[in-house]
């Protein structure tokens, strides 16, 4: 897929009530250092708020950070909401506490890139870039 602008625009978002934001913040810093434009949503976001920000900021990727274990239901719902809102060109990625056995399930839902805890910055940056090769 081709991108309209040169820089990848990423929305790093923390859905739900979990407030462990170290991962989200350091990934935001790493992506920014890698030359991407990064918007950080802040904590306690509803999925509606995330969709709204994604539209307003015309991002290329939504990167969810989920540590609570609720990645499956959240991603399923967000994928559906992205379709409803016509965000067909926006890719979804997710990182956080994600057991390896859940990766195929997330892929099947349509999550484009998955970064379980322990993923390196290099892997995350490469994974994001690959989405637009």
């Amino acid at each position: 897929m081709m991108k309209t602008t040169n820089k990848i625009r990423v929305l790093i978002a923390k859905p739900g009530l979990d407030g462990h934001d170290k991962g989200a913040k350091i990934v935001a810093l790493a992506l920014r250092d890698a030359g991407m434009e990064v918007i950080y949503s802040g904590l306690h976001q509803t999925l509606d708020q995330i969709i709204e920000t994604a539209i307003q900021e015309t991002v290329d990727v939504i990167g969810l950070s989920i540590m609570s274990g609720a990645h499956l239901p959240i991603c399923e719902k967000l994928v559906a909401m992205m379709k409803e809102n016509g965000l067909d060109d926006v890719r979804l990625s997710v990182g956080g506490v994600i057991p390896y056995q859940d990766i195929p399930k997330l892929e099947k839902m349509g999550v484009a890139a998955i970064f379980p805890g322990g993923s390196s910055f290099k892997e995350i940056v490469a994974g994001m870039n690959q989405l637009f090769d």
């Binding site: 009530l17 934001d21 170290k22 913040k25 350091i26 609570s68 609720a70 959240i74 390196s120 910055f121």
Partner: protein
């Protein structure tokens, strides 16, 4: 922020060691180092149990009593949590440390749309007094103390604990609860905040004032350097920021005309133990001394017992790795050793599977046994502060003290802790450090066993690959939410609506004015007002916090 930075030569010999707090370590230490650091036995050390308490709070420390262990427990329904409490007590645990689910921590009832998928997931779900009655049924609340790990709505849980105890026939004077109740650290790390900074601090102040007057055995606040460190602070900053937060709370209550001597003795702390062993030990020894000195010099506290840095020094989750999770069992044991050599009064260990999930009963029990071994088998009870007098440890303790003071001065320069957090100074600093440390881990600048630096990953893949082992997961049970919601509906149907309304109205009046909200909350709890309703009053009156930009 964990391990030290080691610079080695081509043969692998260590050329330079730098701790996270910025202290460089020499190959050997001698009497000249103590002299250079200005070490004086009486001023810096003294006898165990004597000011400045560097060595220990008690003259005989573990000789007279082993540490208290508090594994963090609580999940699913209050009934299930109650079973786990009883199991931990039967296994020798002497105090409870209660976990709440996220909707409870954020002040939402189980049937709120934002609670969906989260009810009972990371702790127990509490909607009303009915749930506390179920959770603490049959627990001797006059003998077993409870830490309530909750912050933004700690006042509500504290009130509910009192209401439950009263229902069981205990008097409020008999119960001992330690709500975490440290909202400022939530704003630096962990993120379970609701209200703007100044209102958050006012609630903490109200609970301290109430405890001073009504709950003689309870400890209204437990200040958590722990989570600040988890967010990316160095060990020196962990203590410095913890103490600066404590000052913010002390000043709030002092401004109400209450003498700090009346309440500082009830503060407790929650600090982190992971990373370099020596740095941890020096940190705690320096912290005990600095806390006592600060209370004496800045707040005129003289009573010896009120100068004690009491609290839980627990094995930190950030030290654990997702890679090769069984290694975390051994890591935990070394962290526990660090806590014991530091004279921890109370301790807990993260379980080896916590990088993935909340601990299974098996892993939680393993942590408890690890802690017991140190006290029963290894000899940590033999003598007080066994490392005292070591050229290295005493020098390092003095250097650590200096670093902590430096970090506290920076917070003062920024206008104190409340301002530093409102402006995002601290958050930006620790996030940036967390990023730099993580980069260092990935580049191999910092080493952790089982974690393969990026540069060596391809090499390792050729020789069999990185291990991708999962541990047994604690499954989320949809039934918990159903159970909570039906129980909540039952409460709403059977309670006295007029009393609920009246008690919430009284709470609103107190929140808007200056009256202490605690007695009003106790009344609301007795009326079976829900957590969502009580928090709703605060949300309407105080509003919600907007985070400062972290870049």
């Amino acid at each position: 922020m964990g391990v030290a930075k080691y610079i080695k030569d081509e043969k692998g010999a260590i050329k330079e060691v730098t701790y996270q707090s910025g202290i460089t370590v020499k190959p050997a230490y001698g009497p000249e180092d103590l002299e250079q650091a200005g070490f004086e036995y009486k001023k810096d050390l003294g006898a165990p149990g004597e000011f400045p308490f560097t060595r220990s709070l008690h003259p005989e420390s573990y000789r007279s009593r082993a540490w208290t262990t508090r594994q963090y427990t609580g999940f699913g329904t209050p009934e299930e949590t109650n079973k786990r409490f009883k199991l931990m007590i039967a296994n020798g645990q002497t105090g409870l440390n209660v976990a709440f689910d996220l909707p409870t921590q954020m002040g939402y009832d189980s049937d709120h749309p934002l609670a969906q998928g989260e009810v009972g997931r990371v702790g127990m779900a509490i909607d009303s007094l009915k749930d506390f009655e179920a959770a603490f049924a049959g627990i001797p609340l006059d003998r077993i103390g409870s830490g309530l790990t909750i912050n933004a709505v700690a006042t509500i849980m504290m009130a509910m604990y009192q209401a439950a105890a009263e229902k069981f026939g205990f008097k409020k004077e008999q119960i001992s609860t330690t709500p975490q109740n440290d909202i400022l650290k939530e704003m630096i790390g962990r993120g379970a905040w609701i209200f703007p900074v100044e209102h958050g601090v006012r609630l903490v102040g109200d609970s301290i004032e109430y405890a001073v007057k009504e709950l003689p055995k309870s400890n209204p606040v437990s200040i958590c350097g722990y989570h600040i460190r988890e967010s990316g602070a160095t060990p020196a900053q962990e203590i410095a920021y913890g103490f600066s937060i404590a000052k913010a709370y002390i000043d709030n209550v002092k401004d109400r005309g209450i003498d700090p001597s009346d309440f500082v003795g009830r503060f407790s702390f929650n600090f982190n133990v992971y990373g370099n062993l020596w740095e941890q030990i020096a940190k705690f020894r320096a912290a005990r001394k600095l806390w006592a000195k600060m209370l004496k010099e800045d707040y005129g506290v003289t009573d010896k017992k009120k100068l004690w840095l009491r609290g839980l020094f627990g094995g930190g989750g950030s030290g654990l790795t997702k890679e090769q999770p069984e290694n975390n069992i051994m890591r935990g044991a070394y962290y526990a050793l660090g806590a014991a050599l530091s004279g921890a009064q109370t301790t807990a260990l993260c379980s080896f599977d916590e990088a993935y999930t909340i601990p299974t009963p098996r892993s939680a029990l393993l942590s408890l046994r690890t802690l017991e071994m140190l006290m029963e088998e290894v000899g940590l009870r033999d003598t007080v502060d066994p490392l005292a007098g070591s050229y290295f440890i005493e020098t390092l303790t003095l250097q650590m003290e200096e670093k902590i003071v430096e970090e506290m001065k920076e917070v003062e320069k920024w206008g104190g802790m409340v301002k530093s957090i409102s402006n995002g100074f601290i958050q930006r600093k620790v996030s940036r450090q967390a990023y730099e440390y993580e980069k260092g881990l990935q580049s191999g600048e910092y080493r952790k066993v089982g974690v393969i630096p990026e540069s060596e990953r391809q090499e390792s893949a050729k020789s069999g690959g990185t291990e991708k082992s999962d541990v047994e997961l604690h499954e989320y049970n949809e039934e918990w939410a159903k159970h909570s919601i039906s129980s909540l509906k039952e409460v709403r149907r059977t309670r006295n609506d007029k009393e609920v309304k009246d008690s919430l109205k009284a709470l609103e009046r107190a929140a808007k004015g200056k009256d202490n909200i605690m007695p009003r909350l106790v009344r609301c709890c007795h009326a079976y007002a829900t957590v969502g309703e009580m928090t709703g009053v605060f949300r309407d009156v105080f509003g919600e916090w907007t985070e400062p930009d972290f870049y």
